[in-house]
Symmetry: C2
Subunit: 254 residues, 2 copies
DNA sequence: ATCGAACTGGGTACAGTGTACGAAGAATAT
DNA sequence: ATATTCTTCGTACACTGTACCCAGTTCGAT
């Protein structure tokens, strides 16, 4: 399995770590490492080798120290992931684009998509309770600003940015999975499909699935792959924003 | 990490396993187990103890046999997960509801949601290339039927059911994470929030985040939790189907 | 009836994982 | 000079998937 859990330890410790407000001691030897250095090394490993490779030992190796040394700087792996997340959220450009709410929400979606594509390991970190670090807070503030003052209630504003974020997460997850499975298996989708079809013809009764056969064939021809991620992203985002537009129009009319 | 990868071994072996077309040998001792029994045991473990607990040793224990014995019946853990997936897809009622495409797509979304809630481990199995078993095929056929004959192209039909499935996956994943994190941490969202706010006030400069503060407070009061999953699901599904409706209307007019 | 081939069950081993514990040494306050 | 505090990090534990191998069982052919 590949689901990491975001930190759930002592809130005070976690927040002090995220905001770099940890009291530094006067006595004892000077620390050889820094939280920043550890996070940097962890990001390097996660970005290039994936989240499964990012073990405490691997990060320690990267820094030339022992695995247990890291525990002097972060309470555990979950909290390290929290800081990693908050750090990469700082990479979001948070551009304020001209235009209405739709242009802004569109920008939010695309910026998040870029970030996920750059750091695919983010997709596998559960953030039901987000790490309340400075970058996470700035991100939420920026995203709410996109839908502020267009007639939605506070609850609808929150639901809308949550919806967009959830959509992007899902869409990119599918796209990244597709990309990774190609590397993992050494086969493109088309090759995979061609390797399965003859066996499926032999084993299954494909006459029972007329729609699947017709649509699957068309989609395969059209996109040279069963799943085209760019197309899927654009289509889904378009539908989603259309749906939000309907609500906004509704609120404006009443 | 908690991402299991769906099988990527020999297509012939995988398909024969999924469709139960494996040639049974005549010589040698009669097998003590069956694929069905192993899948049943694995589902029992995954449903009750989660996907992380579902190890080959744990499943073997459940059956009173050695871990390596399972490898006589399934090529590996990935393929076992494939069969588990195909099996639970068989639980989908696949009701043909009266009404237009929207009623049918709505039903598709709700059936999938129920299934995910019943088997949350499904959310952590990567299915970029779905196991082409009988139940997966039947599911795809049923879902395409919901949007057949309403003026969409084959490609749009596929994109639409993919979009709905992706949406439900994301929405339920968020809801299940929220549920699990309560059990995992022993705190409700409100308790978690109340444990963090005083520290956040002390450490962060909350004046920099006026929208977050206002909206966060309102949402907290309204739903007694930062994240209400039922509300989010209904809101998102509504927006999504509105968006599809706009496309359907467009196609009808041209 | 005998015997080899084919098959099954499952023990052991390997290279990993997060992290609790504790030993050994270094820097500072007194 | 010494006590206190803080550092690094080796060892150990309970896990993981599964490769490899051996012993035992059953059947087909002779």
């Amino acid at each position: 399995m590949t689901q990491e859990y975001s930190g759930s330890g002592d809130p005070a410790k976690s927040l002090e770590l995220l905001w770099r407000k940890r009291p530094q001691p006067t006595r004892g030897p000077k620390p050889a490492l820094t939280v920043e250095g550890i996070v940097e090394a962890a990001l390097r490993v996660a970005d290039t080798e994936g989240i499964t490779a990012m073990s405490m030992r691997r990060v320690a190796d990267e820094l030339g120290s022992g695995a247990m040394t890291l525990y002097r700087y972060v309470p555990g792996k979950a909290e390290l992931l929290d800081v990693m997340l908050d750090t990469v959220y700082g990479e979001l450009p948070k551009r304020v684009v001209p235009g209405d709410w739709r242009a802004k929400l569109d920008e939010v979606a695309r910026e998040n998509r870029e970030l996920y594509l750059k750091h695919p390991w983010m997709l596998h970190v559960a953030v039901s309770r987000p790490p309340l670090g400075p970058q996470v807070m700035a991100k939420y503030e920026y995203e709410l600003a996109a839908v502020e003052g267009i007639g939605l209630t506070d609850v609808e504003m929150d639901a809308t940015v949550t919806l967009v974020n959830g959509y992007v997460h899902g869409a990119v997850r599918a796209a990244v999975e597709a990309r990774q499975v190609i590397q993992h298996s050494g086969m493109t989708d088309k090759q995979w499909w061609l390797a399965h079809v003859p066996h499926l013809d032999r084993i299954a009764d494909i006459d029972s699935f007329p729609l699947s056969t017709r649509v699957g064939t068309t989609v395969g021809q059209e996109f040279d792959a069963p799943y085209d991620s760019d197309h899927a992203f654009e289509y889904g985002l378009g539908r989603l924003l259309d749906g939000v537009a309907a609500l906004v129009k509704d609120r404006a009319e009443i």
